[in-house]
Point group: C2
Chain length 81, copies 2
């Protein structure tokens, strides 16, 4: 059984209103020293067995076409041990 994690975040140059809202709440609640907060999505994809090279290629295609919007987001994909 293998698990692949895909993290999708807004590109740094794209304004992140959700992250801004969380940052505002941190400040109001007295958390100091924070310079930035960004909010994104995390997908945990569990496979029955090991992940083949072909499946990894499929996953990269899905991450780019389905899980993220390449115009405004970037993704990272990793197989977890």
């Amino acid at each position: 059984m293998a698990r692949v994690v895909v993290d999708v975040m807004l590109k740094p140059e794209i304004l992140d209103p959700q992250g801004r809202a969380v940052m505002g709440a941190f400040t109001r609640l007295g958390v100091t020293g924070v310079s930035d907060i960004r909010q994104g999505k995390r997908f945990e994809i569990t496979f029955d067995g090991d992940v083949s090279e072909a499946q990894l290629t499929d996953l990269h295609r899905m991450a780019e076409e389905l899980l993220s919007n390449p115009v405004i987001e970037t993704y990272t994909l990793r197989v977890e041990p």
Copy 2:
């Protein structure tokens, strides 16, 4: 400059309609071997300097009270190198 990542996922026993929808799309698009997909949230919190013990304690409080709903979600928090 330090970065703390907080991942928030639904508890395993809670139904995840977003993950289910993604899984349905994977199946329709011909990705095989996937047994489960869960979707959650990822927060990237950047600090001006290093993160102190007091700030970490604050962050755990925020992760539990603000970033997640402990009734249905769990969080993991880690300081990235």
